[in-house]
Symmetry: C2
Subunit: 359 residues, 2 copies
C-alpha cells in the first residue's frame, strides 16, 4: 500500500482560515486551546520536549517537539534571525510545523508555523494575563513593536478591556507603523517613551530582539504595584529584557521552569525566587487570585505544547473548510519491505552484483 | 518581501532521481557522501544532535538534527513502527526530512526521508565494512530481510566483491521474497538457517525489528575469526541483536559513542570495552588496518550527519535535474513586521478594540 498522502497548509490556506474565521474569532479559539493544552499537561495526555537548536551565526534554528499520546506528534522548526527584517525584509521568526501520526510515523500535515507562532505567543500571554492582571487593567504598554507585539495586543484585547495602547521601539519607524499593523485607529495607539509607558501600564509586554547581554529594555522602577508584565523576548542563553530588581520585587511565573531557567528571564533568578509556573496556575487558578494586586511577570519562553495546540486548531479548521492540498511525499509501494516500490516500473533496477564481483 | 518558496521533493521526484542516476550510481554517491561527512565532523564544519523522540505506544517518533555551519540545518523526522508492515502494509520506517537555511530560518526543502534513511544506513555499513572487513570477503549474511537488508546488500556490494548472499528472517515470507526485492537472480541468494549463515559469513548484517529484551538474534559462537558484523537494528533502549559474548570477543566500533551507549549494542558493554568510533576510523584509517583480520562489529545506531549528507545529495541531484515543485509555505508579506501581510487585501482585518472595550 502506498503511504497516505501528506496535507500541505501553505500561507494561502492559513490566510483562508483567517478570512473565514475572522481574526478575533481565531484569537478566541487560540486562547482557549492554549489554556486547555496547559491544563491537559498535568493529565499526561500531552507531553513536550524542551526546545533545542543550533546557533547559526546570526541567529538560531530550533526544533520544538510535543506529543498528544495516541494521536499525533508535532515538531515545530523555527528560525530566530533578528537581522532578517532589516537585511532581508523577512520576518525575524520563520517557521514550519509538522504533524506526524503517532501510531504509524506518517507525516500527516506540514503547515506554516510563522503565523501560528505569533498567534500562540499572544495567546499564552492572554492566558497568563487573564489569571494575573489586576481587575480593570485598561492601559497596555508594548516595548518592541514587531510582529509579536501585534499579536500580543490582539490576544490580550480578547481577555482584557484595553482602552489605551502605549508603544515604544528602538526603531522609530517600527513604532510609528504599529497602529496600522495592529489595524487600530491612530488615536488609540500612542508612541511613548519607555519611562512613561512604565508609569502608566497596567499590563506591559516586552517583545524585543535585544541582544544577549544588552538588556534590560526598561528601568522597571516605576511600574505600578499592580502591573503585570508579559516578557516574551527572552528565549536565548544570556538574553533578558527585564532588570533583576523588578524580577526580585515581582512574582515571576515561567511557562516552563526548566526552559525559563535556561533561556528566559529566570536565568537571572535563583531557583527559590521563582513563582508558580503558568501550567500550575492553569491547573489551580485559586493560586493566581492573591497575585493579581501584586507585580507579576509571565516569563514566556514559548512551549512546544502551545504549538501542538495551534497546529491542531489550524489543522482542524482547514479540514472543516476543505483547505490545503495533498502531496505524495513518502516513498513506499505495494510491498512494505521493498525500498524501491515507489520507482516507476519502467526503470531498470536490476542489480549488477555479478558484474561487480567479476570486475 | 514574501519569504522564498519551499521546494517539495516527493516520492515521485526521488524516484526520478533514482531513474536518472541509476541505483548503483546513487549508492556510490551515497557511500562517498557519508564517508565525507564523517570526515568533516572532525573539522567542525558539520555538527549534529543526538536523536531524541517520543515512545508512541507501538513505536517511536524521533527527530534527528544536523547542521552544516553557514549553510543549512537538516532535521529528519522518523517513525519506527515495527507493526506497520503486517498491520498496515506500510514500511516500518517512514520519514520526512527538512532542509532549513541556517542564515534565515527559511524552510528550503521538504523531502521524503524513507528512501534516504534506507540508503544512508546501507552507505554507513559500506563505509565501515570497507575499513573493517577482511580482504577477500565474498559471503554476505543477512539476518532480517526487510527494507534495510536490501539497501545493506546494495551498498555493501559497491565496496566488496560479494558472491554469495545467505539470508534469514523469522518470517519465511520475508526471506523468500528477498531476492526479488534485491533485484538479484534467485541462485545468488540462499535462504539459510541462522547458525549456518554465522558459520559462513565473511560479512554479516543484522537488520531486525527484534523487540527490546528479546535479542540476541544469532548465537554468535561460530562466526569466522575474521568476520565483520554490521549491527544496524539496535537503536532503542533495551534493544540488542548481538550476544554480549560476541561483542566482548570483537572490536566494537560505534557510529557515535554517546548514542550507541544509550541505544545500540554498546548498551551491553562497559565504556572501556568500546573500540574506536567510525568517525575516528574515517579520520585515521590506519587504525582500522590491524582490525581487518579480527572479528569486528559496526554498531550502527544511525546519525543525523548521515541524513544531512543524504539530504544534500538528493537535493543537489534534484536541482540538477529540475525536479520538485515549489510551494509558498511560510506566511509573510511586504512588511516583515506585519503578522497578517499574507492575508489577501480583501479580508476585513480591522480590530474591534473599542467595541470590545465597551462591551
Amino acid at each position: 500500500m502506498r503511504p497516505e498522502s501528506t496535507r500541505v497548509l501553505d500561507a494561502a490556506a492559513v490566510a483562508a482560515v483567517v478570512t473565514h474565521v475572522g481574526l478575533p474569532g481565531l484569537f478566541d479559539l487560540a486562547v482557549d486551546r492554549v489554556h486547555r493544552v496547559l491544563a491537559e499537561h498535568a493529565t499526561g495526555r500531552v507531553d513536550l520536549r524542551e526546545r533545542d537548536g543550533f546557533a547559526t551565526g546570526p541567529g538560531l534554528v530550533e526544533w520544538m517537539p510535543a506529543v498528544r499520546h495516541g494521536s499525533s506528534c508535532v515538531v515545530k522548526i523555527v528560525g530566530y534571525h533578528p537581522d532578517n527584517p532589516v537585511r532581508r525584509l523577512l520576518p525575524t521568526i520563520l517557521s514550519a510545523i509538522l504533524i506526524v501520526d503517532a501510531e504509524t510515523g506518517h507525516l500527516c500535515t506540514v503547515l506554516d508555523g510563522t503565523f501560528a507562532t505569533a498567534v500562540r505567543t499572544g495567546a499564552a500571554s492572554a492566558v497568563a494575563s487573564r489569571l494575573l492582571a489586576a481587575p480593570g487593567s485598561a492601559v497596555l504598554g508594548l516595548v518592541g513593536c514587531g510582529v509579536q507585539a501585534v499579536t500580543q495586543l490582539h490576544a490580550l484585547s480578547r481577555v482584557l478591556d484595553i482602552e489605551d495602547v502605549l508603544v515604544h521601539d528602538v526603531d522609530p519607524v517600527a513604532a510609528a507603523g504599529f497602529a496600522a499593523r495592529a489595524r487600530l485607529p491612530e488615536d488609540i495607539v500612542r508612541v511613548t517613551p519607555v519611562a512613561e509607558i512604565e508609569r502608566h501600564a497596567d499590563v506591559l509586554c516586552t517583545a524585543t530582539s535585544v541582544a544577549p547581554g544588552a538588556g534590560p529594555v526598561l528601568p522597571g522602577d516605576e511600574l505600578p504595584a499592580h502591573a503585570h508584565v508579559n516578557a516574551i523576548g527572552s528565549d536565548y542563553a544570556g538574553k533578558h529584557e527585564l532588570p533583576v530588581g523588578l524580577l526580585r520585587r515581582a512574582v515571576v511565573c515561567p511557562d516552563d521552569i526548566a526552559q525559563a531557567v535556561r533561556e528566559g528571564e529566570c536565568q537571572q533568578l535563583n531557583p527559590d525566587e521563582l513563582g508558580p509556573s503558568l501550567t500550575e496556575l492553569v491547573a489551580r487558578p485559586e493560586r493566581a487570585e492573591p497575585l493579581r494586586e501584586r507585580t507579576t511577570v509571565f516569563d514566556s519562553t514559548g512551549l512546544a505544547l502551545q504549538d501542538l495546540a495551534m497546529a491542531e486548531l489550524l489543522g482542524e479548521l482547514a479540514a472543516e473548510l476543505g483547505l490545503g492540498r495533498e502531496i505524495e511525499l513518502e516513498a513506499g509501494g505495494a510491498d512494505p519491505r521493498d525500498p524501491y516500490g515507489f520507482v516507476a516500473g519502467a526503470a531498470d533496477l536490476s542489480w549488477p552484483l555479478a558484474a561487480r564481483a567479476g570486475a
